[in-house]
């Protein structure tokens, strides 16, 4: 069983599917096979809004074995913990993490950390976006925090 996990993205500006998130979905739709289980992962920034996972589900059109929504993940660590939970639930042997190019390293490391102790293979399918200045500033700070966040992901199981 293969689990394809698409990590949501949103900003403060609106409740619609963000272009960054749409690009991740498009990347995933070229990756998913009919026998895959798909995980759409991401929270709602405001209670009145749809979760990133919901918005992705509405836009999803590709055949898959099943589609799971994780509406609770509010960070990449949260995404990773949800991926590990879903992987155990569907007895996945492989997880494909789908996200933006600038986010891929961190996302895949945290997914592996959350799956520590399992035999699940984790691979990355990333878009080719380099990210905005703001995103790259944040990724540098996140790179510093990554080993510590990986410890959190590994312990929070």
């Amino acid at each position: 069983m293969r689990l394809v996990a698409i990590l949501g993205y949103s900003d403060r500006d609106g409740a619609a599917l963000h272009p960054v998130c749409a690009a991740r979905l498009a990347r995933a739709e070229s990756e998913v096979r009919p026998d895959d289980t798909v995980l759409l992962s991401g929270w709602a920034r405001r209670k009145a809004e749809a979760a990133e996972a919901e918005l992705m589900a509405r836009a999803w059109t590709t055949d898959a074995r099943s589609v799971i929504l994780d509406r609770t993940a509010r960070s990449t660590v949260g995404n990773a913990v949800g991926i590990a939970r879903a992987a155990r639930r569907v007895d996945a042997r492989e997880v494909v993490v789908v996200t933006s190019g600038w986010h891929g390293r961190r996302a895949s490391v945290l997914a592996r950390a959350a799956l520590t102790g399992s035999q699940v293979n984790v691979t990355l399918a990333a878009t080719d976006e380099r990210g905005t200045y703001r995103a790259r500033v944040r990724e540098l700070a996140c790179l510093l925090a990554l080993p510590f966040a990986a410890i959190v992901a590994a312990r929070a199981r």
Binding site: R74, S75, V77, G78, V81, R105, R106, V109, R112, A113, L115, T116, S118, Q119, V120, N121, V122, Y133, R134, R136, V137, R138, L140, A141, C142, L143, L144, A145, L146, P147, F148, A149, A150, I151, V152, A154, R155, A156, R157
Partner: protein
């Protein structure tokens, strides 16, 4: 303001930009030498952090011990980076002291937030600890990101004559900063 800084490649933006290359320093001015040291410190730090995470390319490398070692490595390389920033002194420009003060503030922020992140990670023992840990780490990341932006703004405001910007643009070690 920040986007303008990115486009022009001013000093603090070196903190977030791509790696720097090498170059001939024989004819560099003091300000260019400062810029070179600044960019080299950033590149070394960024490369070190990248190297720390690259070891986690497979599940077999993600043991509890390896994660702890990686966290210690990240902390150690950050301490070196902060020490190097503090040791830089001010650039020999009209705005040198203001830039130095701003970089010192950034150094202090990075140092204190890393300590908080470390403490948070040490305190997690199960799923119930996850929400508060995420909030804490996210807050620290935001604080560091804000400190970078603040340093960039301060550097631009202080560098009224554009000396520092010119040095950064002309210094080979910072050649890739605005890319």
């Amino acid at each position: 303001m920040t986007r303008k800084l990115l486009a022009s490649g001013t000093a603090a933006l070196a903190l977030v930009a791509a790696g720097c290359g090498g170059g001939d320093e024989s004819s560099a001015s003091p300000t260019e030498e400062w810029a070179n040291s600044f960019c080299t410190a950033i590149t070394t730090w960024k490369d070190s952090l990248t190297s720390v995470t690259e070891q986690f390319s497979s599940l077999s490398s993600l043991t509890s011990e390896a994660l702890t070692d990686a966290a210690n490595d990240a902390k150690s390389s950050t301490e070196t980076f902060v020490d190097e920033l503090r040791a830089l002194g001010p650039p020999e420009t009209e705005s040198g002291e203001a830039v130095k003060s701003s970089i010192d503030e950034l150094s202090n922020t990075v140092e204190s937030e890393v300590a908080k992140i470390e403490s948070t990670a040490e305190g997690v023992s199960g799923l119930a600890d996850l929400p508060s840990a995420i909030t804490s780490i996210t807050t620290s990341i935001s604080a560091m990101s804000s400190a970078v932006s603040s340093t960039a703004q301060t550097a631009e405001s202080a560098d009224t004559s554009g000396e520092l910007r010119t040095a950064l643009e002309d210094t080979p070690a910072c050649a890739d900063i605005s890319s």
